[in-house]
């Protein structure tokens, strides 16, 4: 499931919904991204996440489909917020449910890596140093993290 929203969310409810009535599921992995208060040595007041709405939905659907293709999953959730967010607030959540733990652990890491380089979001940081806001530059590290998944072909038959 894909959700792009202004509002906050409750990871506990999302985890419960992902496994509701499916007693085949053995594990749910999730990642929740938060707004940090410090970036590159200056204090963040808030950030504004801009995005390209139609393309965001499309890309998140594609990323989710890719996860279902690569791993044996019983459920998948991607929530991404946009708009103004303060330190400590949740920005993003990805969660995957599977029979065996490796499928959900790996696909969860995959989703957050891919999302960082494939979802059309841009961060404007309002800091003590630059109150008008400064657009965050993409990190080469994120591209490296995404590309590592090109080499990984998980074995769907595994029973770990």
């Amino acid at each position: 499931m894909i959700r792009v929203q202004l509002e906050d969310f409750d990871p506990g409810i999302e985890i419960d919904n992902l496994s509701a009535d499916n007693y085949h599921i053995g594990g749910i992995s999730s990642f929740v991204g938060l707004v940090r208060d410090m970036y590159n040595d200056h204090k963040l007041i808030s950030m504004t996440l801009e995005h390209y709405p139609k393309m965001t939905e499309k890309m998140l659907e594609e990323i989710q489909s890719e996860a279902f293709k690569r791993w044996s999953l019983e459920g998948c959730l991607i929530i991404h917020r946009y708009g103004q967010l303060n330190p400590g607030e949740k920005i993003v959540m990805v969660a995957t449910a599977s029979l065996h733990r490796q499928d959900s652990l790996e696909s969860c890491a995959f989703l957050i890596d891919w999302l960082k380089t494939k979802a059309p979001f841009w961060k404007l940081e309002h800091s003590t140093e630059c109150d008008n806001g400064k657009w965050v530059e993409a990190k080469e590290d994120d591209n490296i993290a995404t590309r590592k998944w090109d080499k990984i072909i998980p074995n769907k038959a595994r029973d770990i």
Binding site: L34, E50, L115, P120, W122
Partner: protein
């Protein structure tokens, strides 16, 4: 054709989106960038360093040599920085 601008490219261009009729001789994204760069100093600074400009044609990440036509939606933006941390 519909053109969208995001983040600092939007700020430099000065608008979120615009509708244009594709001029003669503009057949690729690169042609469009060249043409737009002559439409004012905002466009010129927005497209000043193409290493940090990305494009999507009809919501697909594309290259600058991608062919375009009047029915396309073309979006210009910096490299994406989503996904929380």
């Amino acid at each position: 054709m519909r053109i969208l601008y995001f983040a600092w490219i939007r700020e430099r261009v000065g608008c979120e989106s615009e509708e244009i009729t594709l001029p003669q001789n503009v057949s690729t994204v690169q042609d469009l960038i060249n043409w737009l760069s002559n439409q004012g100093s905002g466009y010129q600074t927005a497209f000043g360093d193409l290493k940090i400009v990305r494009v999507a044609v009809n919501m697909e990440f594309s290259d600058f040599d991608h062919c375009i036509n009047n029915e396309d939606e073309v979006a210009f933006f910096p490299p994406v920085t989503g996904g929380g941390i």
